[in-house]
C-alpha cells in the first residue's frame, strides 16, 4: 500500500487543527494546505470509526476478554513504525544516489514519526503484556526487536541533530539511514532465533488470538486509517523540516551579504542553494 502523500497543493484554507489564521502580508503561514485539510478530516473520521469498532461494537475474545482490544491499536501503530523505517531507508538511499534535498527531508521526517510510533508500540506492548502475563516486559522476540528498532532510530536522530553544514549532516545521516533497514533485519533475525531456542511456544501463540468476523474487519480498517494518519503527519513534518532547513539557509545567505558588506564591497546577491552543493 503506497502512502498517499499530497505534496504541493496550493490553495489555502484554514488548517484543520488551528483556527482560521489571518494570513499576514507574507502569505498564509503554517504547514497546512487544502490537501492536508481533506486528509486530516478523513483521518479524524477514520479514527473515530475505528475506535468505535474496536472498543464498542466488536465482541471480546473467548479466553482473553477485553484485552484483545489493545490489538486493534497495537497492530496499526507497528505497521506505521515499520513503514516509517522503510521510508527513512528509502529516502537515505535516494539522497545518496540523487543528492536531492527532497528525499533527505523525507527521510528525516519519517524517521521522527517512526521513532514516536515505535515508542508507542513498546508502551502498548507493555499494556498488553501486563494483563496477559502479569509482567510489564517479556523478552518476546517481537517486543525485543521493536526495542532495538527504537534505539537504532534514536541513534539516527542523534546523528541528524548534530549541528553541521547541511550537506555533511545529510550525508552522515543518510548513511546511518541506509543501514537502518539491514540492521533491523539482522537484529530481528538474531532475536527471533534466540527466543525460539527457548521453545516458549505457549507465550507465542497467545500473541496470535484467532481474529475472525467483525473483529477482523475492525483490525483491517484500523491499518489504512493509521496509514492515513501517518501520511498526514509525514506531510506536515516534511514541510516543517523543509522550513527548518530554509531558516538555516536564510541565515546563511544573510551571512554572505553581511560578510561582503563588512569587506566594503557591494553586496552582490550570491543566492546559494545549499542542497545542491556537492563536495
Amino acid at each position: 500500500m503506497t502512502t498517499q502523500r499530497s505534496d504541493a497543493t496550493t490553495t489555502t484554507a484554514p488548517p484543520p487543527a488551528g483556527g482560521a489564521a489571518t494570513p499576514d502580508a507574507s502569505g498564509p503561514i503554517g504547514t497546512g494546505s487544502r490537501g492536508t485539510r481533506i486528509l486530516g478530516l478523513a483521518t479524524l473520521a477514520g479514527i473515530a470509526l475505528a475506535a468505535y469498532l474496536a472498543l464498542v461494537s466488536s465482541p471480546d475474545d473467548e479466553n482473553m476478554g477485553d484485552v484483545v482490544r489493545i490489538i486493534y491499536i497495537h497492530v496499526p501503530i507497528v505497521v506505521v513504525a515499520y513503514v516509517g523505517c522503510m521510508i527513512t531507508t528509502l529516502g537515505s538511499v535516494m539522497y545518496l544516489w540523487k543528492k536531492s534535498r527532497w528525499w533527505d527531508v523525507t527521510a528525516a521526517a519519517s524517521a521522527e514519526i517512526a521513532m514516536v510510533t515505535t515508542a508507542l508500540t513498546l508502551v502498548v506492548g507493555m499494556c498488553w503484556a501486563r494483563p496477559t502475563w502479569g509482567v510489564w516486559w517479556v523478552w518476546d522476540a517481537r517486543l525485543t526487536s521493536t526495542a532495538m528498532l527504537l534505539l537504532l532510530l534514536l541513534g539516527y536522530l542523534a546523528v541528524r541533530r548534530i549541528p553541521a553544514e547541511s550537506g555533511a549532516r545529510s550525508k552522515r545521516a543518510s548513511i546511518v539511514g541506509v543501514l537502518l533497514l539491514p540492521n533491523v533485519i539482522i537484529v530481528n533475525r538474531s532475536v527471533t532465533w534466540w527466543r525460539s531456542l527457548h521453545q516458549d511456544t505457549t507465550i507465542l501463540n497467545t500473541l496470535q488470538p484467532k481474529i475472525h468476523g467483525d473483529m477482523a474487519f475492525a483490525l483491517y480498517l484500523a491499518i489504512p486509517v493509521a496509514l492515513m494518519m501517518f501520511a498526514w503527519l509525514l506531510v506536515h513534518r516534511w514541510r516543517l523540516a523543509w522550513l527548518e532547513e530554509e531558516v538555516l539557509d536564510h541565515d546563511l545567505d544573510q551571512a554572505i551579504t553581511d560578510r561582503r558588506a563588512e569587506a566594503g564591497f557591494d553586496a552582490r546577491s550570491t543566492t546559494v542553494d545549499i542542497g545542491e552543493a556537492t563536495s
Binding site: E165, G167, R260, E262, A263, G264, F265, I274
Partner: protein
C-alpha cells in the same frame, strides 16, 4: 597555456559559514603568487578550497584542469598543502611519517630519503618521535612530507612561521626550485619583505573576497590596505 588555477566569483563554505564570498583568481604554471590579507580574511580558506577540501557552492573554480564543484577529489592527489597543522602522527618518528605519506602518494622511496636529507632531517632527528620535536623541526618534517609527495601545486600557509633564518632560506630555495621545475606555488604570508622577494606577484584577499576587475569598488576609499608597492590585481 591553461592557467593552473582559474576562479570566478567562487563561494565556498566552512560548515555553515561562507568562508569565500566571491573570489576571482588566475595563476599560471610555474608562477609564485603571494596571497596577502588581514587575519581572518580567508587566506587559509582559499588555500584549502584550492586543495579541494572545501565545497565550492557557486561561481566557477577549476584547479589543474579539475572543476572543484564536481571533481574536487581528483585535485587532492596532485596538491601539496602546508598549513598550521603539521598533519603528522605525533607517536611516529620523522622517518616513519615521511615514508608513510610518500608511499601513500605512490611516490618512490628515494623521494622520501631525498626530502629528509634536503630538510636536514636525516641525521639525529630521523628516528625521533614527532611529539618530541620543536615547532621548527616539526614544520621542517611537514615540509619534508610535502616535498616527498612531489605535488604539482604548492599551497603554503605561513611557511616561514616559526622557522630560524637558515631554514627559511632552505624553504625559499625549495620553492624557487619547485617553481623552476614547473610546479605552481601560492604562498599566504604576513612576512612581506621575505615573501614579496620570493613571489612574482601578489593578490590581496579581504573578507573572503578577491574582487574581479569588473566590480572593483566604485568609490575607492574602501580599497584594502596597500602594504607593498607593486600590488597588481591581474584578472
Amino acid at each position: 597555456m591553461e592557467p593552473v588555477v582559474h576562479l570566478r566569483s567562487a563561494v565556498s563554505l566552512l560548515g555553515r559559514f561562507p568562508a569565500l564570498a566571491g573570489v576571482d583568481l588566475d595563476v599560471d604554471p610555474g608562477e609564485i603568487v603571494l596571497l596577502q590579507g588581514p587575519n581572518g580574511a580567508g587566506k587559509t580558506t582559499l588555500l584549502r578550497t584550492l586543495a579541494g577540501l572545501l565545497p565550492v557552492v557557486s561561481g566557477t573554480a577549476t584547479v589543474l584542469g579539475h572543476d572543484l564543484r564536481t571533481d574536487a577529489r581528483a585535485v587532492r592527489r596532485r596538491v601539496g598543502l602546508l598549513g598550521h597543522a603539521t598533519m603528522l602522527y605525533d607517536e611516529l618518528t620523522v622517518a616513519d611519517n615521511v615514508r608513510f605519506w610518500s608511499r601513500a602518494a605512490k611516490a618512490r622511496p628515494a623521494d622520501a630519503e631525498a626530502a629528509l636529507t634536503e630538510l636536514g632531517l636525516d641525521g639525529r632527528l630521523r628516528d625521533v618521535a614527532v611529539a618530541r620535536l620543536s615547532a621548527g623541526q616539526r614544520r621542517r618534517a611537514s615540509i619534508a612530507v610535502m616535498v616527498a609527495r612531489r605535488p604539482e601545486l604548492w599551497l603554503l600557509d605561513e611557511p616561514h612561521a616559526g622557522l630560524d633564518a637558515a631554514t627559511r632560506d632552505v624553504v625559499d630555495d625549495l620553492v624557487r626550485r619547485a617553481a623552476a621545475s614547473g610546479a605552481t606555488v601560492v604562498v599566504a604570508s604576513h612576512e612581506l619583505e621575505r615573501a614579496t622577494a620570493l613571489a612574482g606577484r601578489s593578490v590581496t584577499i579581504v573578507g573572503g573576497v578577491i574582487p574581479g576587475p569588473d566590480e572593483a569598488d566604485p568609490d575607492g576609499e574602501t580599497a584594502p590596505p596597500d602594504p607593498s608597492p607593486e600590488v597588481a590585481r591581474v584578472p
